[in-house]
């Protein structure tokens, strides 16, 4: 009974952790190619979810809403790259930090004005009636999140390894200057990475929306956790984020059970501090060697 309880807690938490992982993966994609990240990633998640909800309200079936929302995410990602990142990178400045934050705030205000500040339910054909596995309760909705996250990451990784465009992506990630000398456009590749990152954010939004409900503040908690996961795992760790995401989610759930629900947020922060103190490149990160 007692072990079952711990497993139930860990599983429930870990499934939420998968969402942290997917958002963290969005950070990784852009960091790999451009060494920059979109600090407004949470707003991308939120805007895509709200846009998808509008599509549902218009009467579109769920299976059309998903690609619609994804496309919207890609467009947003590309917009962030063009408006907030490209110029800063060209001038080798760190201006993208502020610019992406500003774009995020802009997105937040836009959402408040267009959709209002209310949290609204997100209809989904996936059932939320619990399934019973070996004494543990899981809803198909939670499982869909887990499956979706793994599938998306798997597909993106496959794309990077098996296609020509993907190889260019890897080349720019490995060494931007060398890749450019080989005739690969770094700008295009960075653009691609931001588009992909937007896509991942949109999928995260659509997957998690039925659980969290949809509103302008839906991603504000998620994004902090995702950032912790990205940093703890390492910004170039690939599937490392999944392990850390699962771990953090389970840890949160167990902490609020054993230490009290007020301590829920603590493990993420402690983990972050520990990681930065002991392994600044992340648990699964590679120490970068830079030859001058």
């Amino acid at each position: 009974m007692y072990t079952l309880l711990i497993i139930q807690l860990a599983v429930s938490g870990a499934l939420m952790g998968m969402v942290y992982a997917l958002i963290a993966y969005g950070f990784q994609l852009t960091f790999a190619t451009s060494k920059s990240i979109n600090f407004g990633q949470g707003e991308l998640v939120m805007l895509s979810a709200l846009f998808s909800l509008t599509l549902i309200d218009r009467g579109l079936p769920y299976w059309l809403v998903v690609p619609g929302g994804m496309l919207f995410g890609v467009v947003l990602g590309l917009f962030v790259e063009r408006a907030g990142v490209r110029l800063a990178l060209e001038q080798k400045s760190e201006g993208w930090i502020l610019l992406t934050i500003i774009l995020g705030l802009l997105g937040f205000s836009a959402a408040e004005n267009i959709w209002g500040r209310d949290d609204r339910p997100f209809p989904t054909p996936i059932s939320s009636d619990p399934l019973h596995f070996f004494g543990i309760d899981v809803t198909p909705l939670e499982l869909s999140v887990a499956i979706g996250v793994v599938a998306v990451m798997g597909l993106v990784e496959l794309f990077k390894r098996k296609t020509l465009l993907g190889k260019a992506f890897e080349a720019v990630s490995a060494d931007r200057d060398a890749a450019q000398l080989m005739g690969i456009s770094a700008t295009r590749t960075i653009q691609l990475s931001y588009g992909l990152s937007g896509l991942v954010a949109a999928i995260a939004g659509i997957l998690v929306a039925p659980i969290t409900t949809v509103g302008p503040t839906m991603a504000s908690v998620l994004i902090l956790k995702a950032f912790s996961v990205a940093v703890v795992a390492g910004l170039d760790s690939g599937f490392g984020v999944v392990l850390i995401g699962l771990f953090l989610g389970a840890l949160e759930s167990l902490t609020s059970f054993y230490l009290g629900s007020g301590w829920r947020e603590a493990p993420g922060l402690v983990l972050l501090i520990l990681a930065l103190a002991v392994r600044p490149n992340g648990v699964f990160g590679k120490a970068s060697i830079r030859k001058v």
């Binding site: 938490g13 339910p121 939320s128 167990l254």
Partner: protein, 409 residues
Amino acid sequence: MMKKTMLAALTMGLFTTLQAYGADTVKIALTGPFTGGSAPMGVSMRDGAKLAIDEINRAGGIQVGANKMKIEVIERDDEAKNERGALIAQELASMGDLAGVIGTVNTGVVLAGDKHFQEKGITKIITPAAGSASMTQWSKAGVKDLSIFRFSADDGIQAAMVVEEAINRKLKKVAIIHDSTNYGVSGRDDLLDQIKKQGNRLQVVATEKFNIGDKDMTAQLLKSKVAGAEGILIWGIGPELAAVSNGMAKLRMKVPLIGGWTLSMSNYIDNAGKNGNGTLMPQTFIEDPITPKAKSFIDSYHKAYGVTRIPSPMSAAQGYDAVYVFAAAVKQAKSTDTHKIKDALEDLREPVKGVIATWKQPYAKWDPANEQTHEAFRRNQVVMGMVQDGRVVFANKADRQRLMKAAGK
């Protein structure tokens, strides 16, 4: 010289316009969260109040002494944020010709703002904020003369009913789950207090909390389940309450969920869906046309705002009745002076026919030893409501019969 005369003329002009303005309208401010998680309550309260104001204005206004005066509304959205609420209170308190204020949903906002009204002696009717601290802050401070009134079933009454309901349902072990805001924490204290008062017949096996924005309640619920809770008493607001209900369905916890009236908020009912069925909460008004007065109120609300369901029926009804109580006080005071209105409210001679009840002497002279002097609601004006298929209905048929009978008299 020239400058001085101009200035004088300007001030004079300003004065006369202000006076002219003040002379033919009764200025009432409506405040509350009209956006955000508490918006269903704020918007319903505002719209219910405006319905009453429209009715009064259409009939020519309030009889103030010899002439009839229309009501002028000033609206302020506090976004459920304490600091916004404090700013708005300061602004309103400095207006000078305000007859009074009606509103506020969030206890935190009440605590942040009301001191500015009290300082200037501006009459305020709090509705529908229910947190006990809204009134006890004044009794604790030993204030002798208070211009703040409440028109809402306070958490003390609500907690008493919640505990009573749990005992009536023969529950022995309960868990208390609450949010970490002022509202949730004081709700927990009220519940513990009531359990003691009602003879310690409930054993609290777990006390858990959650933060605004939390969606995964597995840990809190499992702790209650493991401890053997036969019921969950809860204090929080809409979206998180829905997360609790959804979590209970996931963990197959089929125990009663009983809590504060926030369980009737539309963002709880919508987000919990079918998992919300059977949830119990105290209500001052149920959207059920059991009396002609209730029917006409519900119909005109639906028509005026183009809805088929009031987002928070009791907030709307309380806003509506509060305006009529206030208007009665203006009439009795024969003045728009906020201090005189306060005195009239403390000794309202004529009964006010409202949609919730007929209000006979709802308030009395403020006594710091007894907050009930400025509380309008008593236990018998509150009933138990239950969520059923997206609506709140009477939980006990007897209450429905009793109210129908009372209205028939």
